[in-house]
């Protein structure tokens, strides 16, 4: 089975949130609280156990570029639909002690609610802050990559609902190339700060949901160099070993006298 991916393009997004709603409708995700945030039009505020697609609204002052709309006072409003990155080396999967989180044949990272025991190890292990525990249920949830739909040969619900093809879905290799070409084209049109967000050289080992963005990834809550926590295992175990040897030595010393 071919590996699949999302390419989500901020320059095509109109901020309609159809992806958020379609995701919740298809996956029967409950509401995530009726709280007005005051942060532009973003009241979902972040990805979480009950928000698997999240559209960001960034109001930015800007000095140059063709996307600027007002000649007197350069300003732009950028939208981007965030989602689980489905890392190749997935922090949540590696941390899960029950085997509830598995890798699918499409390369996605899938959580099985019937196996999850709600320990929450995955929550702290995600370098992107995606997966979270749902209250008061207690178990952890996140984007399933619409595994059920993919199995049936369908596109994920978000990509299907997107009216402007800002969310594209397809074979990973193909979309990776398309993302690069898109950025080239955008640069050619004067979007100097267009870039692909697709960290491959870090310990997450590549992701299945990459983005075309304008400006720095930090503005989108995307870590420029995400790391899987397990890379710290070696040093963590080493220090644990050194420390336990030290304790052992101390204990031995104590009994020696």
């Amino acid at each position: 089975m071919a590996l699949t991916a999302f390419l989500t393009d901020a320059t095509l997004c109109i901020g309609c949130k159809a992806c958020e709603v379609a995701c919740k409708e298809w996956n029967e995700v409950p509401e995530d609280g009726y709280v007005w945030s005051g942060n532009s039009y973003d009241n979902t505020t972040a990805l979480g156990a009950s928000t698997w697609r999240h559209v960001m609204f960034l109001e930015q002052h800007k000095t140059a570029g063709p996307q600027i709309s007002d000649m007197q006072d350069p300003f732009r409003w950028v939208f981007l639909s965030d989602v689980c990155k489905h890392c190749a080396n997935s922090g949540c999967l590696e941390a899960c002690p029950t085997g509830a989180i598995v890798r699918t044949e499409f390369g996605g990272v899938y959580t099985q609610p019937d196996v999850c025991n709600g320990c929450g190890y995955c929550v702290v292990s995600c370098p992107f802050g995606v997966i979270d525990k749902r209250h008061p249920d207690g178990r952890a949830f996140k984007c399933t990559f619409c595994y059920d739909r993919q199995k049936a040969g369908l596109k994920p619900a978000c990509a299907t609902a997107c009216p402007t093809e800002s969310i594209q879905f397809g074979p990973l290799d193909e979309l990776r190339v398309r993302g690069k070409e898109r950025v080239e084209e955008l640069k050619h049109r004067g979007y100097d700060d267009a870039r692909v967000y697709d960290p491959q050289e870090t310990s997450v080992g590549g992701i299945h949901a990459f983005f075309v963005i304008l400006g720095e990834p930090e503005a989108y809550n995307l870590p420029p160099a995400p790391q899987v926590p397990t890379i710290h295992l070696k040093s963590a175990w080493t220090s644990a070993l050194v420390f336990s040897l030290f304790i052992a030595a101390v204990l031995c010393g104590a009994f020696a006298f």
């Binding site: 109109i14 901020g15 919740k24 007005w36 005051g38 709309s69 007002d70 007197q72 093809e165």
Partner: protein, 863 residues
């Protein structure tokens, strides 16, 4: 839709959103297309990807502005000044498409000497009667054209939804022309004079748009013209809901004629419709002044005493409306069947007569005055959506009975115990005598029928599931209500019941829910012959002798033969979508498409070809169904005594008009002038800079009364400009979105959008509660402080604008105050719509007071 109706002949979008892919520039104004029409907006995004320039002119930087190439901010309500500026720019720089203008518009037609412009009469046109606040449009007629023989110029001075340029003057085809466009009284020269003062400097000074930004936008849009290029304009309620809304649309219509952008691929005007079948609800109207197919509702009095009088009044000798008698007689046959015979004028006297203004605003004030007994509310939530909704809710309390058919309990159904008037103690539930019936209604997936969408496309929709419980379709409700009323009427022999008893009311009932068969209704709209009940292939087959039945002539052809419901066809065969649904009229996707060819019948260019004259087969042919008599040659010249369509020459594309022209100048049909003039909104922060003696639309209807008062212009009690609008996340009054968790959570609370400068001046902390006050009411909302709202400089003074989405009410998962509590019950003179887009308000920190006296105190407080 008289803005488009009078200019071009039909009140509907002239192309489809997909057709925008062929545009070289798209001007979106009076619309927030990306937010309110996100699905249709995909074509704008795709066009932009292909290099089309997208312009958004709007008081707010919205999701549409965010993706447009150019955003131009302007002061709410200054649209005609801006658009007049564009017309001025085109004329001044000779950018108009001369050959198109010369042949296809009435630019060359001479207007009589006694016409006087607003430039001469300080803000009104000749024919103004200050007492009746109505125009006599005799001086607007073409030179040499006499008003109708009955002496009255027309009642078109009253405007109306059915205005499409007929009625008053059957001889409009007898115009005098000056093809050099030099005659001082030709429309072109009058237009030039009329807009001479709408300069970039005026636009800068009073719209709050920098001259550079204006000229950049003007240049970008106006170069999308000529044989090789086209531009399209998209608008919605941001134009309609103004006291001069129709004239704003008229400006756009004139622009498109000057640039030669009508009837051509990538051209046109899209009147964006915000609901699934709003176009359908004017085609088969829920409006008081028209019948299906834009036939006029008969008015009380001599003009409608007989069918012949009515037809003489509303039909035309030349142009397509010559067929008026065929359409009204076929409609009467649909209504009254066998009872409709030539001897009784086909039952014409049974039709109710219009005795005055029966628009929403007018009858609601009657309700407030206790003049109405009962009300049916279906598919509407006026307790939230109606202007001055506080007053509307009080009106509901004066009824004897109220029937609300809905999928949920809306605010309209719960006003008697949950409205702010009750919770604030101004009304007591035990004092409200209204008996309220809340009946469950089926949702769109629970009933058969058609939607007619923004692009005039009828699409059939099949029932997926039965409605739950007692919920039923509208067809079911109205049919069975009719059956019961007729049963009652049979026992009551008064003459007033004769029309009800004469109705054909014989739809087949099917299934355990006893639903009328929806396809039969569509077949009735399509029309059939009386003799053998054979479906007609189109409106050309309709007759005036009572031998045909047709419920809506413009829909004729949608069901041309048994078993062929074209609304239900889903096999698109080409770019324009032929084979998918049915676009009225006659499946023409781009209307007035004769204009896509040169006068001689050849396409203007290879790039912009659509239909053309094929000399070999002596027929019009091309990529769309020709909106023209297929065999009428381009060089056809009508004989002197010709009538109907045959009286129009082969190079006259606007076939509904008696002269076949696109009307830059509207000689009949509008209540507020043959050309658009800039008037300030009913409430404005400035005096009208164009016509100091005429502040607002002279023909406006303010309906001033206690509880429906206005700020003065300007007013230091209400110094800020207020505009209301919708968000993507909600559906109008919220009955279908605030009740659904997945939508309600996306925008849970009401808010106002204000600029950082304004927040600083009023010491408003971002996110805190503020109270917005107008002369009508006060509401509490969050303050969303954002640079997306620009502080404008108008005539050297700082003007702050406040935006409020209007979706909230007191029912549902998320609740909040309704912005329409702030709006006045006012009426645009042509279509009687309220002004929601340009008002005056004030803002105070903190939540609103909980009682009426405190709110009155707020309203009288000065800054």
């Amino acid at each position: 839709m008289p803005g488009l109706g009078t200019t071009y002949g039909r009140g509907g979008a002239t192309a489809s959103p997909k057709a925008l892919l062929n545009s070289d520039a798209i001007l979106i104004m009076g619309s927030n297309m990306a937010e309110n029409h996100p699905v249709g907006f995909q074509w704008v995004m795709e066009a932009k990807e292909n290099g089309t320039q997208v312009l958004h002119v709007d008081p707010r930087f919205s999701r549409t502005s965010a993706v447009a190439n150019i955003w131009v901010p302007l002061r709410a309500g200054s649209d005609i000044l801006f658009l007049g500026g564009l017309i001025h720019y085109i004329l001044e720089n000779e950018l108009f498409f001369r050959e198109y203008v010369l042949h296809y518009t009435n630019a060359s037609v001479i207007i009589p000497e006694d016409f006087k412009d607003t430039e001469e009469l300080e803000g009104v046109f000749s024919g103004w009667n200050a007492e009746t606040k109505k125009y006599d449009e005799r001086t607007w007629l073409y030179e040499g054209v006499e008003p109708k023989a009955d002496g009255q110029s027309s009642d078109a001075g009253n405007g109306g939804h059915g205005q499409h340029g007929v009625g008053a003057a059957p001889d409009l085809n007898k115009y005098h022309q000056d093809l050099t466009l030099q005659h001082p009284r030709c429309v072109f020269q009058l237009l030039k004079k009329h807009f001479a003062r709408y300069t970039p400097e005026m636009v800068e000074k009073y719209c709050g748009v920098s001259k550079d930004a204006f000229l950049h936008a003007a240049k970008t849009y106006c170069t999308a013209s000529g044989p090789e290029k086209t531009g399209a304009i998209c608008y919605a309620l941001g134009w309609t809901q103004h006291s001069s809304g129709v004239q704003m649309i008229r400006c756009a219509a004139i622009l498109q004629l000057l640039l030669g952008n009508m009837g051509r691929p990538g051209g046109g005007i899209l009147a964006l419709r915000g609901h699934a079948s709003i176009q359908g609800s004017t085609d088969v109207p829920t409006l008081f002044d028209i019948l299906p197919g834009y036939l006029n509702m008969p008015k009380f009095g001599g003009e409608s005493e007989t069918l012949a009088n009515y037809i003489a009044k509303n039909g035309a000798k030349t142009g397509w409306w010559y067929n008026y008698d065929k359409y009204i007689v076929s409609l009467l046959k649909a209504y009254y069947g066998e009872a409709a015979q030539p001897e009784n004028d086909f039952g014409f006297h049974w039709l109710p007569r219009v005795t005055g203004d029966h628009s929403h605003q007018a009858y609601w004030l009657d309700m407030v005055d206790g003049k109405m007994d009962g009300l049916f509310v279906m598919g509407q939530n006026p307790a939230v959506a109606g202007p001055n909704s506080g007053m509307e809710r009080r009106g509901l309390g004066k009824l004897k009975w109220l029937v609300v058919r809905e999928m949920v309990e809306t605010e309209t159904a719960s006003f008697w115990y949950a409205s702010p008037e009750v919770t604030r103690g101004e009304l007591r539930t035990e004092d409200i005598g209204t008996e309220v019936f809340l009946l469950p209604a089926a949702g769109h997936a629970e009933k058969d029928g058609t939607f007619t969408n923004t692009q005039r496309l009828l699409q059939w929709r099949q029932k997926a599931v039965d409605p739950p419980g007692d919920a039923r379709s509208e067809n079911h409700f109205i049919y069975h209500l009719g059956v019961l009323l007729r049963e009652k009427a049979k026992r009551d022999p008064r003459p007033r019941n004769a029309g009800l008893l004469a109705l054909t009311w014989d739809y087949t009932i099917e299934g355990k829910l006893k639903e009328p068969v929806a396809e039969e209704v569509l077949q009735e709209m399509n029309g059939y012959t009386v003799a053998d009940k054979r479906l007609v292939p189109g409106f050309a087959a309709l007759k005036a002798d009572g031998s045909t039945v047709c419920g809506c002539w413009i829909y004729s052809g949608v069901f041309p033969e048994p078993g062929r419901n074209r609304a239900n066809e889903r096999h698109s065969t080409d770019f324009h979508g032929h084979g998918w649904g049915f676009a009225w009229p006659a499946d023409r996707r781009i209307i007035y498409n004769r204009a896509s060819a040169r006068p001689d019948g050849a396409p203007w260019s290879e790039r912009k070809k659509l239909v053309w004259w094929d000399a070999a087969s002596k027929k019009w042919t091309g990529n769309d169904v020709p909106d023209f008599t297929a065999t009428k040659a381009p060089d056809y010249q009508p004989p002197a005594d010709a009538v109907g369509d045959a009286a129009l020459a082969g190079d006259k594309p606007f076939i509904l008009h008696p002269d076949g022209f696109g009307w830059i100048w509207v000689p009949v049909g509008l209540a507020d002038g043959p050309l658009p003039s800039h008037y300030e909104p009913l409430e404005s922060p400035i005096r009208n800079p164009m016509y100091p003696k005429q502040q607002s639309n002279p023909a406006d209807e303010r309906r001033t009364r206690p509880g429906n008062e206005y700020a003065t212009s300007p007013d230091n009690q209400f110094p800020f400009v207020l505009t209301t609008y919708r968000l993507t996340e909600h559906h109008t009054a919220g009955g279908m979105s605030r009740t659904l968790s997945h939508l309600a959570e996306l925008q849970p609370d009401p808010f106002c959008e204000i600029s950082p400068e304004m927040a600083a001046e009023l010491s408003i902390i971002p996110g805190e509660w503020v109270t917005v006050v107008t002369a009508r009411g006060a509401i509490e909302v969050h303050a969303l402080v954002t640079p997306r709202i620009k502080t404008l400089k108008i005539d050297g003074k700082t003007v702050y604008q406040v935006g409020i989405p209007f979706h909230w009410g007191y029912n549902g998962l998320v609740k909040g105050d309704s912005a329409n509590d702030l709006v006045a019950i006012s009426e645009e003179p042509n279509v009687h719509i309220m002004e929601t887009k340009g008002l005056l308000c004030n803002i105070y920190r903190g939540k609103r007071a909980a009682n009426a006296a405190a709110i009155r105190e707020l309203q009288s407080r000065r800054n």
